[in-house]
Amino acid sequence: MPGGNVNESARRVIDAGLHLLDRQIVDKDGRLAGKVDDLELTFPHGSMSDPPFVSAILSGPGALAPQIGGRLGKWIAAAESRLSDQPGPARISFGVVKRIENDIQLIVSRDDLDVTRLEDWVRDTIISKIPGARHAPQ
């Protein structure tokens, strides 16, 4: 299948773009928690002499902004940063990843993550102000 098939959580060798990018993220309750839009790489001793390792998943428009580039990319990154106390895009530590299959399964709830900042802002700032928004669906 295009995009590769990652069925083994313990798979030893992968191509990061092929096997991790664009994967769906699922929280501990089976709820969708975004997609893998980029990966954070960390150099263990702060220099390039030792190879970096994947330390976190980056998700959301802020993570995609550098790939969009130009003014639009900068605007998206700045707008999303304003929606959170945390600078930069939403970040999910790889330490909360339980399994990598066709999706990426976490051991935490999406409520404990920062991945829904745009969704939360739209709900609280726009949707909730529409007359009738507080009525339960009929």
């Binding site: 295009p2 590769g4 030893r12 773009g17 954070e40 150099f43 970096p52 330390s55 550098p66 051991i107």
Partner: protein, 114 residues
């Protein structure tokens, strides 16, 4: 650093010759321990080649299943891709990666194995 910062970077060999662009990053799971996940994925090296069209679909790498004409086409298109082990990466600056060996000493991309 972000993974996306590496994609599309130009790679130059020890003589300053153009090798290709970064298409992907091969990772091996023997990095530092990371909570529930265990050993982290550590960078083993970069997959470098000419045009990147079709590379993200993975048809150019042996294990990905798909219609054989497409596989053959992409394997031919990416047949000259090189593997740049991280140990030979000498520098990274402004979208250019310099390696410490001549291009003809860079191996082909190893087949993905478990």
């Amino acid at each position: 650093m972000r993974l996306s910062e590496l994609f599309g970077c130009e790679v130059l060999d020890s003589d300053g010759r153009w090798v290709g662009e970064v298409h992907d990053a091969r990772m091996v799971r023997d990095g530092p321990e990371q909570g529930a996940f265990g050993p982290a994925y550590r960078m083993q090296g970069l997959i470098v080649g000419g045009g990147s069209w079709g590379s993200r679909l993975g048809y150019d790498r042996g294990e990905v299943k798909g219609p054989w004409p497409l596989k053959k086409l992409f394997q031919w298109l990416h047949g000259h891709a090189k593997f740049v082990d991280w140990a030979v990466v000498a520098g990274l600056q402004k979208g250019v990666i310099r390696v410490s060996v001549p291009a003809d000493q860079l191996p082909s991309v190893p087949t993905l194995r478990q």
